[in-house]
């Protein structure tokens, strides 16, 4: 017989988002919290991220991925959260009920009062970017390669070409090198790097690994195992330029070509998704379009820093607890935050105004020097930050206080924009 369970809250995914959300919900007074994870251990991607750089905002020190995760796992062990590892959520429905399965409990029908989506993201694959060629062994996504090396103790390659200069790609360039593999180069289709500056310096520059901007892989050679790739320069429309092909012998192609928020369950539950982020549309309490279902972390959009993931998780955990314990329901008044000049997207997308402070995270569309990031409602400035350099990989966070948010709600507009420093000076002058 299928068992029926009725916890207060189910958190789906026990990466940094799920861990943070489950603990925050407990801290806010929820007793019966179930944390479901499909992998064999807690922490999500963190256990394989053995490099450092995690936690500078949350803990004021830089930790490795496993250390960052362990701080939450230690707290979790002291809490009453019920952890279900090796457990897969098969279905999530608009009434918040879920079906999950594992070897021990069999099939479970779970009917919680609230749900937090913390499924994280997955890697974009070779076929999603349609790289022509053969389908041999040796084409791997960077995150999967990282897991192979750092968790499984296995080397997926020896002569490596990396496509994409996202952070995982850069980190893996260094990791392969440290393991005695040869990294021929990192190729990036855009004319600017995809990863954080510190990773460009520490992972490529320090190891003399070349970065080829405006280049992509145009053919994978090798019927059984990768034997080489053809790389080509691309024009301003990102189309390969004929005549620029170069054959690069290698046994492995590592792809770091983007991450996709995992929202298959969100779609099943009928949650509205934002095409700009690939994640659910949420308000400042991280509640989605379906009442009682909240979202946090990379399921909303792919964050650059785990610290931000934790922040959204804590908001979602607290909000879910309030939803269950205090019966706080979604407010009707609702304002859509508008991405303005040089802003690709903003999360949360909606402001309802609960009389609390709120954080807004955004990404720019293109790199820009000497700017101010602004959150404003007409002539009312809610938040502003001076930034020396903004780049698409690096997210910007703006905090707004409850009073001004209330005012913005009354005015009916809220904009995020990036303005050049001169312009602001000019206007002031």
């Amino acid at each position: 017989m299928v068992r029926v369970r009725r916890p207060d809250l189910v958190v789906i995914g026990a990466g940094p988002a799920g861990l943070g959300a489950a603990l925050a919900a407990c801290d806010a007074g929820l007793k019966d919290v179930m944390l479901i994870e499909r992998d064999v251990e807690l922490g999500g991607i963190l256990p394989q991220c053995i490099h450092d750089g995690f936690g500078s905002i949350v803990f004021g020190e830089t930790l490795t991925g496993p250390q960052y995760a362990q701080r939450y796992i230690d707290r979790l062990e002291k809490s009453d959260v019920e952890v279900k590892l090796n457990t897969m959520v098969l279905d999530l429905r608009p009434d918040r009920s879920l079906t999950a399965v594992n070897s021990r409990d069999g099939v479970m029908e779970i009917r919680p009062k609230a749900v937090i989506l913390a499924m994280g993201c997955r890697e974009r694959t070779r076929h999603q970017i349609l790289i022509p060629g053969y389908r041999p062994a040796g084409v791997v996504c960077a995150g999967a390669a990282q897991r192979d090396i750092n968790i499984e103790g296995l080397m997926p390659g020896r002569r490596v070409v990396i496509l994409g200069s996202g952070d995982i790609g850069l980190i893996m360039a260094r990791r392969f090198t440290l393991e005695g593999a040869e990294v021929e180069g990192v190729y990036e289709i855009m004319d600017h790097p995809g990863g954080l500056t510190r990773n460009l310096v520490q992972c490529l520059h320090d190891y003399d690994i070349p970065l080829h901007l405006s280049h992509t892989v145009t053919f994978i050679h090798g019927r059984k195992r990768v034997e080489a790739v053809t790389v080509s320069r691309v024009d301003e429309n990102l189309k390969p330029v004929p005549g620029t092909e170069r054959l690069v012998p290698c046994d492995t192609l590592v792809l770091s070509v983007g991450l996709i928020p995992e929202n298959e369950l969100s779609k099943r539950a009928g949650i509205s998704l934002d095409p700009a982020t690939g994640g659910p549309v949420v308000d400042e309490r991280m509640e989605t379009s379906v009442e009682g279902i909240f979202a946090c972390g990379n399921v909303m959009n792919v964050f650059d820093l785990v610290d931000y993931v934790t922040h959204t998780a804590e908001t979602a955990g607290r909000s879910a607890a309030e939803y269950v314990l205090q019966g706080i329901r979604k407010r009707g008044e609702c304002l859509r935050v508008r991405p303005g000049r040089n802003v690709k997207f903003v999360v949360p997308q909606l402001l309802r105004g609960y009389g609390e402070e709120a954080h807004f995270y955004f990404r720019v569309s293109r790199p820009e020097r000497a700017v101010r990031a602004r959150l404003s409602s007409g002539d009312l400035l809610l938040a502003e930050r001076k930034i020396r350099m903004v780049r698409p990989p690096e997210m910007v966070r703006l905090k707004a206080d409850p009073e001004r948010l209330k005012e913005a709600l009354a005015r009916g507009e809220l904009d995020v924009q990036v303005v050049p420093e001169e312009e602001t000076k000019g206007r002031q002058g």
């Binding site: 099939v107 022509p132 060629g133 103790g153 080397m155």
Partner: protein, 538 residues
């Protein structure tokens, strides 16, 4: 996880299954373990268990049988009067009986042939006044298609108005003027069918020798006496050549040739099931007037897979290399362009996979199914390209005619086992059934592939089956691990670890698709150790 402990109980039979002894003699030897070879072998076992199937690859269905569009055509697209059309029409009718007892899903989704202004050459369209053109597209062409099909024995064809076309397939171009619906078109997973046929044959006594390449034949006095392989010789009076793209070379070895295969590659794009389920419900193809200058490729269409993924293709590109299963940038572009017209809003960004197979046409473009008149006991089943999958039941019937003449008993065996028990698929069960299985064996609750919901129990069943899966692709074809949107990112290392454990090999010996395709090249620190010892010697 590394390597893992081999399970002593399971290890012995697997070894035996993986490296069976070469039999000294057999009543018949089939060369090639594609869908045709396996179907012929299965049919032979209805009369005698003494049949051997040889293939140089490490699994069945490693050629065109693993890389086609899964369509069971009706014959409407074939040239009148060809052997191909005759066997296609008959094969299609026989399909339910053919798959009976195999535990393989077959469904008839139908084909919608769409007629639009682009169905006729521009010069023809321009030479007509609007009423004439409308009459041609709306009435004459559909009527012509139906008459053509009915003459070939295809039943149930139906002319559809523009409204009916768009109601049936709402995503089709609004330029549609009319259409013809052919209810006979079916879908069957070609590699699952091949695997099932092979296992059914094994259940009934057939022996499969994989990793075994045919290098020659013993022919004496114009009669087949034996097959020479990379692993030794088998005495036999009967050889069935079902070697796909290599059928011409195999026939030459016996002196029973006389036809040439020129490989023609076909590439297909596959889309995420969650996005495209029901995007098209039937196969959909644009009608093009016969004799019209074709685009670079012939045929192809939009169709669902048995599982509900949208597929677009295949292309048709002549290639020199029989192993050329690559897909080119031009082919990808061509598919996008072509289907942008037929299905204007198809979800371009939901591609999850692209694959390419090599067809085996002869220069006559017809099937070559014959008992050689130069070498007695040698039967060619060659030139089998699309619609080979659809024609398979009728091809088998025709081949059996020759084989009975050549000595296969005509009397069916009383001990033939008609049903091949299929492994249930967790993804297709309801929650009560799933729960019951987990209570019996907890491995049914351990999800290995999170996109396709494949459990450890299914992976184990694939590895310990009658035709064991011995590599990643073998497990994938049997269970769908790694076939979803993450393409193995989540389950790759898990499947490799299970294979290593069950086969009793280190995980560094696990391959993607047989020899030369290792998934992992070493354990961590191995390269550093090698480097260090290298320095030491220097």
């Amino acid at each position: 996880m590394r390597g893992g402990k081999p399970d002593e109980m399971d290890r012995e039979p697997i070894r035996e299954k993986l490296e069976p002894r070469l039999p000294a003699r057999a009543q018949a030897v089939v060369v090639g373990a594609g869908v045709i070879g396996c179907a012929v072998a299965r049919e032979i076992t209805r009369y005698t268990p003494d049949v051997v199937v040889l293939d140089k690859e490490n699994d069945v269905a490693c050629g065109a049988s693993k890389a086609n569009n899964a369509e069971v055509h009706s014959g409407i697209g074939e040239e009148a009067g060809t052997l191909k059309q005759r066997l296609n029409v008959r094969g299609n009718h026989m399909y339910e009986g053919f798959v009976q007892g195999l535990g393989v899903e077959f469904k008839r989704q139908g084909l919608l042939i769409v007629v639009t202004p682009r169905s006729v050459p521009p010069e023809v369209a321009e030479s007509m006044n609007p009423q004439q053109l409308d009459e041609l597209l709306r009435v004459k062409i559909p009527e012509g298609i139906v008459a053509y099909g009915e003459a070939a024995g295809i039943r149930g064809l139906r002319i559809l108005s523009r409204e009916e076309v768009l109601k049936k397939e709402p995503n089709v171009t609004p330029e549609a003027v009319s259409g013809v619906f052919d209810p006979n078109y079916g879908l069957v997973c070609p590699y699952k069918l091949t695997i099932a046929l092979a296992e059914h044959a094994v259940m009934n006594g057939a022996r499969f020798l994989l990793n075994t390449e045919v290098t020659g034949f013993r022919v004496e006095g114009g009669e087949v006496r034996g097959v020479i392989t990379s692993r030794g010789e088998i005495a036999t009076p009967l050889v069935i050549n079902a070697a796909g793209v290599f059928a011409d070379e195999v026939a030459e070895m016996a002196g029973a040739g006389g036809f040439r295969i020129h490989p023609r590659k076909g590439a297909t794009l596959l889309f995420d099931r969650q996005v495209t389920s029901e995007y098209v419900r039937s196969s959909v193809a644009l009608f093009r007037m016969p004799g019209m200058k074709r685009e670079r490729s012939k045929g192809g269409g939009a169709m669902p897979t048995v599982e509900g993924n949208l597929q677009l293709g295949p292309t048709a590109v002549e290639v020199d290399d029989k192993y050329d299963t690559s897909i080119s940038a031009e082919e990808i572009e061509e598919i996008f362009e072509r289907f942008h017209y037929l299905l204007p809003d198809f979800p371009k960004d939901a591609v999850i996979s692209a694959f390419s197979g090599v067809r085996a046409p002869t220069y006559e473009e017809d099937f070559v199914i014959e008992a050689s008149n130069r070498v007695k006991g040698f039967v060619n089943v060659a030139g089998i390209q699309s619609p080979g999958l659809a024609s398979a039941p009728a091809i088998v019937e025709m081949v059996m005619g020759f084989l009975h003449e050549l000595g296969i008993p005509r009397e069916p065996r009383p001990d033939f086992r008609p049903v091949r028990p299929a492994i249930p698929r967790f993804a297709e069960l309801d929650d009560q059934e799933r729960d019951a299985l987990i209570r019996k064996d907890p491995r049914w609750g351990n999800i290995i592939c999170r996109c396709e919901y494949v459990t450890e129990a299914e992976v184990l069943a694939a590895i310990h089956s009658l035709i064991p899966a011995t590599d990643m692709d073998g497990v994938k074809r049997r269970t769908r691990t790694g076939m979803g949107r993450c393409q193995g990112g989540f389950c790759g290392h898990r499947v490799a670890a299970i294979l290593a454990r069950e086969l009793g090999r280190p995980v560094t010996e696990i391959t993607k698709s047989g020899e030369g395709s290792p998934v992992y090249l070493a354990e961590t620190k191995d390269f550093l150790r090698a480097e260090r010892s290298g320095h030491g010697q220097g």
